[in-house]
């Protein structure tokens, strides 16, 4: 079905998917209302030109900073995120939980971080790269 589209077209693909056209950016203060329609149909929300400030990697870890509110069910993705992130969770694990595309979960999580519903968490015990590698090696060997 895609036989005629063999050319990788790497650069243009990246440009098209990573950056949403400026006119599609939600107006100030309307992020929440804009998010869902975009997220569902096009996936253009993967990143937005002038924000959010929060850059979330697929392995960034977040934790819920509050419990779901009474009307959270109106936005079920958020409810699920808050419930699932009761324990610190990576963005990619949240996407598996929600069954939603990575870009969409990333966008919702970034907004939730910005509004304070989620918090980012770094490793409890900080390890240098070299210590990390050694620990991974030892751990793998003893599997």
């Amino acid at each position: 079905m895609n036989a005629e589209r063999q050319q990788p077209q790497e650069e243009s693909t990246v440009a098209l998917t990573r950056r949403a056209p400026a006119e599609l950016a939600p107006p100030e203060g309307e992020e929440e209302r804009f998010l869902r329609p975009f997220a569902v149909d096009a996936g253009v929300n993967t990143s937005r030109p002038d924000g959010p400030v929060e850059q979330l990697d697929m392995l960034s870890r977040v934790v819920a900073a509050r419990t779901p509110g009474r009307y959270e069910w109106l936005r079920p993705e958020r409810e699920t995120i808050l419930n699932h992130a009761e324990r610190a969770s990576t963005v990619v694990e949240l996407t598996a939980e929600l069954g939603l595309p990575l870009g969409q979960v990333r966008a919702i999580a970034a907004e939730m971080l910005a509004e304070g519903s989620l918090q980012r968490c770094g490793p409890t015990r900080s390890l240098g790269h070299s210590d990390l590698l050694h620990a991974v090696l030892v751990g793998l060997r003893s599997l």
Binding site: Q6, G43, R87, Q119, P123
Partner: protein, 198 residues
Amino acid sequence: MASADSDTQPTEAIPHAVKIIVAGGFGAGKTTLVSSVSEIAPLSTEEVMTEASYGVDDLGGVEEKTTTTVALDFGRITIGTDIVLYLFGTPGQDRFWFMWEELAAGALGAVVLADTRRLDTCFHAVDFFERKGVPFIVAVNRFEGSTEYSAEEVREALDVPENVPVVAADARERKSSKEVLVELVTHVLRSRQAAMSG
């Protein structure tokens, strides 16, 4: 890095999340390798890709777009309380390169699964990791009925440098998959040490 900047910081220990990529052509055994070592059944995540339809010029702003989703499998290995390893299989098709970029960012390293029935299907992966400077090893999967190639023959065919390990593997065997990962991490450590002393 450990942040104590909030009062809601969870009481459980937060581990480092370490990413390893498993690449290779369609059917090379990526999902099999991830499943055989993962402590959970592989989870799947999706990404949506919007692209301009091929051959359509920008006709006064009317540009046709098609939307495709790409699925990624990932597995998990918990190492003590400090580290969780995430293994990601790459999407098979070339047009999903944009996901490779994301996967490569911050990755510890990559395993390129070479399928000896069609070695050429992993050329792209080798090129990509070389270009991105992501350390990788090559694991040669032996499929029934395929020609037996030695590691050296595979190395030559893929044109990978002498310092990149090329090992035989069976992605269906947990032990073998685990050895492949040990080989990768050892290679990453060795490369770092070489880089620091050189």
